[in-house]
Symmetry: D3
Subunit: 155 residues, 6 copies
């Protein structure tokens, strides 16, 4: 079971020891998309154009979710986030979210960026579901991570 670092030699889950790791500046960027009908995308675009709160609600949801990551993902370490930002782009039949998370800590913030992305997209689903229940969240993935001993990574 050596390949899954979150399981010990007996297969038991644990939160791995990061005590010996150095505190460094770490950043992660994740992205994802919710595909929807043109009608739903139009409603969101118009909601946004008319100063409605639609994108703001999704952004706030993502930011707050990033701060809850270690409560949601059982084996994640709590981390003091120093920055979180979420960019939203409304397309013709989709909304794309890109989340950037940053910390000065002992472990990376990939999960924070991915969690922010997922909850942002779920919040858009929630707000548009009266129009379209068949929306699909897709292509949620890490774009990059920097900082930390294991080195930088780019998709």
């Amino acid at each position: 079971m050596s390949n899954l670092t979150h399981l010990d030699a007996d297969g038991a889950a644990h939160m791995v020891d990061v005590g010996g790791k150095a505190v460094t500046t770490r950043e992660a960027v994740a992205t994802g998309r919710i595909r929807m009908s043109a009608e739903a995308a139009t409603a969101i675009r118009e909601g946004a154009v008319k100063k409605g709160d639609v994108l703001a609600v999704a952004r706030v949801a993502g930011i707050m979710a990033a701060k809850k990551t270690s409560e949601l993902i059982p084996l994640c370490h709590p981390l003091p986030l120093s920055r979180i930002a979420i960019e939203l782009t409304v397309g013709n039949d989709s909304v794309t979210a890109t989340a950037t998370a940053k910390t000065d800590g002992k472990t990376g913030v990939e999960m924070e960026a991915l969690t922010a992305t997922s909850v942002t997209l779920l919040t858009i689903y929630d707000m548009a579901k009266a129009i379209d229940k068949a929306m699909v969240i897709e292509d949620v993935r890490l774009l990059s991570k920097t900082g930390g001993k294991s080195g930088d990574w780019h998709a």
Copy 2:
């Protein structure tokens, strides 16, 4: 802005009034998949085969996230979940999660099923990310909802 029920006439976000709706039994099923390298899928399968906690951790994360849905999705109503179950299938290069949520309440549990699905998949990402950082969460969507005035819906 009439199409987005979560925005009022001025575009301001609010939690819509469900006070007048009837309490009925409502169920929702959602699904999603995390695509990964064969190496990562093998590690998860072996972790599971050897009685490791890997699938259990993901399932518990999803169940607990379902109970946190109204904390995560800003305009979601709090709901007393009467059941939540998550089924996981490990494929050759992916893991599929299917979540079923149920309530006796005034509004549906789509967001609970979708949130459970997303957090289950994020937890698998977390456990396998030392092997594969390029995993992609995809095809997260509602399969069905039943109960409530708006009628049943199937994907």
Copy 3:
């Protein structure tokens, strides 16, 4: 100690028994104001006018705080909120928040409306504090409550 219902005969805090009370529709409205420099009020108004997220962030904070009321106020009963809405008005030297909370439950939602109001105003403080640290939150109070055996109340 008979006057403080949250203390028993020995002065010990407890969450009072509402088990025997009827489930009825209950609503409460609360309001409050944050007084600030003209410069800060202008920044908020312009942030809002230019489609910035400033009022949306405050509104979402208040809505989410309403759902957390029983976690924050130790002797408050958990309640299934059926509606929560927050109205914001930007004046020349202040922002006024008015929160409406509604439930079908066994006890009133005054604390939910007051908590939503307070957290909305604190969030505005947070966003404008780089401009003005001397802002004052004031006049936070209940405007009305309806429903329940004790009858309606209006300020």
Copy 4:
């Protein structure tokens, strides 16, 4: 939109980057008051005199709320509080709360002190509301902040 640091150039809310700031000892003191009928103030004073839990419940609520600040205020950074204390004074027709928060961190603890003050006062409202529903929370404001690059500030 340059004046509101929590909004970016496009007006989008984000949690600003404090990664480059130094870790220093920071302290903030906030205060506020709940004005009430003489009858309510007397009930609280007697509850306290007779060793009832009334002030303790309010103090604990404030302390616990300080630790939840970054969950409540969307764009607040999580901070490791090193101290939190709340002083309560019962007057003839009011209760005054003063909260002191301290951290060794990259950003100030004004919001923690203000949130602790607000929730302390809301908790007093909750305990006395059976006697007086017209209580008013007022004069909630920062008294001082020390530490950090922007220098000390006193009301």
Copy 5:
């Protein structure tokens, strides 16, 4: 695996379906004890006698923990508690906590009463640990449960 109701036929954890159960009034009483040195017990008794907050803090912790039970115990259903009370008795070398929880719901409140008891005792440990680190929490158990189809139970 038929004996453990929280595991399905394949051994997978799930939150069992209580949707078909009737809403009835349910109550549970649990108790437990923390054994400590005479010195620690004296400090607590004197803290309490001199109107210190020591027992109040423990009681509030227990009450708030009861409301968090379904967040802590993964397969517990969320329940609207209608009452929670905690009684504390300081002995010569121990403190005993007894918690009563009540709901009108579809499932029992044993876990709420046991969780309240445990967190109350942990809080006492926290406050007295500078005096005595060897304190032992013991005899935490259910005293009774009433209501619900499975009938009453008494220890």
Copy 6:
């Protein structure tokens, strides 16, 4: 009231100032046991043997509770846990849990280890309560703490 460090000179609860303490590596180990009928212990052992999630659910509950310690214990400081692990042993009529918590922080992690132990055992109670309601949680205590100025301690 000098003996209870969490109460000030007037007996008021506060979160003591740890700002002046050094950041050092600190570890704590706690243990506890749930005594049960042979039938319940057998069900748990078989659930575990057959790859059921029973021990994993308890372990995850304990790990997640450790991260919530400062939310549950009112005067506990928030701490960035760098490791948490829980070991479970199923005996003939009991299950024993041992939790290890670690941080690089300004204060110890005894409460994190004890909270993880307690919630792990409560979760086992929850899963086995359909078989045996008379289970007793006992002997929950600190085994050791290391690091920090006050020196090491072993039971």
